[in-house]
Each structure stands twice: as structure tokens, then as C-alpha cells.
Symmetry: C2
Subunit: 125 residues, 2 copies
Amino acid sequence: MSADLVADAAIGQHVLADLYGIEPELLRDAPTLAAVLQTAAEAAGAHLLASHFHSFGTGDGVTGVVLLAESHISIHTWPEFGFAAADIFMCGDSHPERALSVVVAALKPLRREGRTVARGPRADR
Amino acid sequence: MSADLVADAAIGQHVLADLYGIEPELLRDAPTLAAVLQTAAEAAGAHLLASHFHSFGTGDGVTGVVLLAESHISIHTWPEFGFAAADIFMCGDSHPERALSVVVAALKPLRREGRTVARGPRADR
């Protein structure tokens, strides 16, 4: 990957979002989850390289990733807990917070826990 | 996804590893990086669903992911900084620390920064 580093900016921002209280049926719907993550990537200004989503079967969850020129967005779901773990890892000029907004608007979690982790070297190192 | 929860265990463990001081040529080698991540998944006791690696071109880095029944391992590399960001997200009975050992042994970073984040509901909630 290449990156134009700006002052005080790490090479990437990694948003970890734990999303609780989601409608279980939605967490079993691989095509819809794939569409949500692709829309999220577009909203962030990122560029899609590949998308792969796997359903573990009727009643079970989904695991999926969209691979981006700016890194990736992944989701792993547990319908039995109404839970999804989403990761939004982006470098460059993209906007991971916009991707998170799309995911939250689509999944409508009752509660969420999140953190953003700066990844990699900083321009001032 | 499904998970057998054990007491005091979150549904998943997510290892974020920032790896510095890696030989740049290795960070441009998509087939080798794919093989390393697949070996790491096997070492962790995880099961491969899909693997996708993208090279940004001669001299540039690689972005890739192995999607697992137990979640995923991803890597994004910046040869110009000798840097790789690796993520190992695993649920169930797999062993992410064993996957990390494989990645570190293969990439031989001079320095690493890492953290492990517990993801999702705990059995005692």
C-alpha cells in the first residue's frame, strides 16, 4: 500500500465496533450484509478490491470482508446473541467514521461499544 | 457464526499487531504473505473459508485476508516503511497467539507493538 502521510497522522485508523441488540434475521442475511459493507466503503471514499461473504447455514451467522485499496471492512455475526463485530481499517484520505455510520444505520444496534486504534508509523517519527 | 462460550471468555479475541523493520521485498511478495497467513491459520487450529491477496504493483505493498470459520486474519503492508499491520481475529477454541507466532517468525520484524482486544458478549453477561 502507499500512503500520503500528514502531520500527526498514523498510517491507518482502525475502528473496532461491537454491536449489540441487532435483529437476528438481519445477522443471517449474507447478501444484505455484503451490500451494507460495500455501501459503507463507498461512503468512506474507499475503493473495493474484492468482497467475500460466507453464511454458516440456516439460522447461523455470517462472516464477511470487503478488501479495499485503503485496507478492509469485516463483519462477523452471531444471531444467537444479536451481536456483530465490525472492523473498519482504513488508510489514506478515506473516512472510516462515515463507513461506521452506514453500518450502524443499517444494523440498528440497541447498544454499541467501539474504539479507534491508530495503526502504524506516524509522519513525525 | 456459532460459539461455545466458556466462563470468563469473550466471544472472540482480536490481536492487533503492528510490525516494524521488516525486509521490504517480503512485504511486496503477495504469494508468500498468503502462504504465511494460511500457515498461521492452520497453526491456530482455524479453518480456511477463502483467501484473497492483492498486490498494488511492483515496489508497492500488499493487502490480503484469509477468511476463517473462526473469523479472519488480515495483513496490509507498506514496504516503503518496512511496516505491516496484521490482525488476527478468532473465536471459538482456536489459538490466535499461535497464529501471531507464525507471522512473526516469517516476517522477522525488528520491533512490534501489539494488543489483544476481547470482542463481543461474555458468557457471564
